[in-house]
Symmetry: D2
Subunit: 189 residues, 4 copies
């Protein structure tokens, strides 16, 4: 696990992906969807238990289905997630904290579609995460998570995610995620 | 893991604690703080990996410090949590989804101080969980989580939590949690 | 101005439209869009200054453009609003409180598309109103407000609104509005 | 009404108080509470109907009761507001949009306690305004609004407000208000 990153200390918020953005030369060549996959891989590649992180029990069950940048103002990414016992409460439904975790990760990943050195290359850090729970996601259900950029500027962005039952598309939960850019000025890279 | 509870199917929301409330006769005799501890114990007692749940990696590091019902309109519970690697992002700070999970669990537990058969005995289910991240909680930090009931009625309640650095009380994050009561009418118990 | 309605006292929340729903026999025959217009007319028909209400300076500039119930799970209503000096802050942009007021009213009106005796006939009362401001709406701008039902049940609903610049469709603000049904049981009507 | 301010165009958000901050020399000498009163006076001094603004029907009924900077991390301001017919819905309770407007204005005013050239001198602009309605505020009720700074940095701040019935202190509504600093660098003033 990397040591706390000075920028995030400055901004004083959670999140950020240092391996991801330290690897910024590669990211420069990658397509947006390749950067989304890189973000997932880096977070998942923590086999060493001492390096186990909060996403360890999510990522093996989360799959990137597609990305869509046809609307340049509102790029989108679609994920599929299988609800396993370790994601549930004692009642057998996905835990509200797991839903929030999925939304945090999946909405952040959309930023990889537009990130470039100095512009969300670190995918920013969370300021607000507002989740609304509409219907339960029972254990063994498969859900799809549609994420999009609502607005992105130099300092702030607003992301949105909706979770649906894959079988019939019924809405299960929605999320609005506000993030803050933590990139150092490009000159300093 | 208990089978999905019919009431939560009706209300179509997440959460609820069936073992907790099925044990309602005992809960009736217990003090509020005993019910908070019962809520924590039931959620933690899932040693069998097949019964592992979303709270498995949180509860060993979460401690109930005190409860306060002196203000009957706004009962409070205070928790301490030690931030471990498994709670963190790849950057070494507590993951925003872990912060949300802690707030979901800790604010819900305050309802155990006022629950009775027919009135939040199941601790309800989440409708909204809004978290604001102010400063990072680095790995190995110890945080305290103060939770209180903002308002509780027959159908709805609003709970609030604030997370502070234990060492100096600096605010790290805040949460507002809206829940819905799922208790069956008492007559039907 | 109607005297406070006992149900809203019980639920202890804001809003509701008593003349609208007291007139429930008419509402029964009306189409959804006719009910939306009835909701607007009742709120606007307060010429007597002593009956002036919070919407007095909004409704002359708010126009219902269309409604769409083709997706029965997510009915929609589209409004147009002209930003006048009385809607602005001293800087000459629409005041955040005016944006919130427009979202409160316009999202509530969508419920008129599905309301029936005992089911949101009073259009409910607000529990939460969360607005995110993305770009300013300058005085003399014309905006369109798209509102939809995200989820509606017997007790609760979640509504969403987005405000766009009419000229080019740029997103200016978004809103999530949580309401509570206050209808008395139909038998008691 | 001032012409749209270039900074707010850049940040693309609502609000800001240009007369307030153009008068920055005076503000420099003023105490925090004097700056709060200056903010209220500037907003209220729009007798000319053509200059009527969104606060016109609020400010005659809003009174600054006190400010408290004893906790330097969380300065507070206390207001009293009398609920008049023009603040209400057709049901006779304060309109949710009026509650949101009061919270927007009152929480913003707390920033005047800490503002200085380059640091929230313009009181920033709103990014998020989240209001939770707990109980109605009937016409002719008097309410008190307690506002505090939850966290303030160079770019962002989070403010909180709670509205209580003055007669018995019962909570009626709560608000979290996220703002963005729009000050130009001090050198450029």
């Amino acid at each position: 696990m990397g040591k706390p990153h000075s920028d995030s200390k400055v901004t004083g918020l959670t999140g950020g992906e240092d391996e991801f953005s330290s690897n910024i030369e590669d990211a420069r060549q990658a397509t947006g969807e390749e950067r989304v996959r890189a973000f997932m891989k880096i977070t998942a590649d923590e086999k060493d238990l001492s390096k186990r992180n909060w996403m360890t029990f999510i990522l093996p069950h989360l799959e990137l289905l597609s990305s869509d940048t046809s609307d340049s103002a509102h790029p989108k990414v679609l994920f599929r997630h299988s609800v396993k016992p370790e994601h549930c409460n004692t009642l057998g439904n996905m835990h509200g904290g797991c839903t929030a975790t999925l939304f945090d990760f999946c909405t952040s990943s959309v930023l990889a579609l537009v990130s470039r050195p100095g512009f969300w290359a670190f995918l920013g850090v969370s300021r607000t995460l507002n989740v609304t729970y509409l219907r339960p996601a029972p254990c063994d259900e498969t859900v799809v998570i549609e994420c999009e950029i609502v607005q992105v500027g130099k300092k702030l962005c607003t992301l949105r995610g909706v979770m649906r039952r894959e079988s019939d598309g019924t809405l299960l939960a929605t999320c609005e995620h506000g993030k803050v850019n933590t990139d150092p000025p490009v000159g300093k890279l």
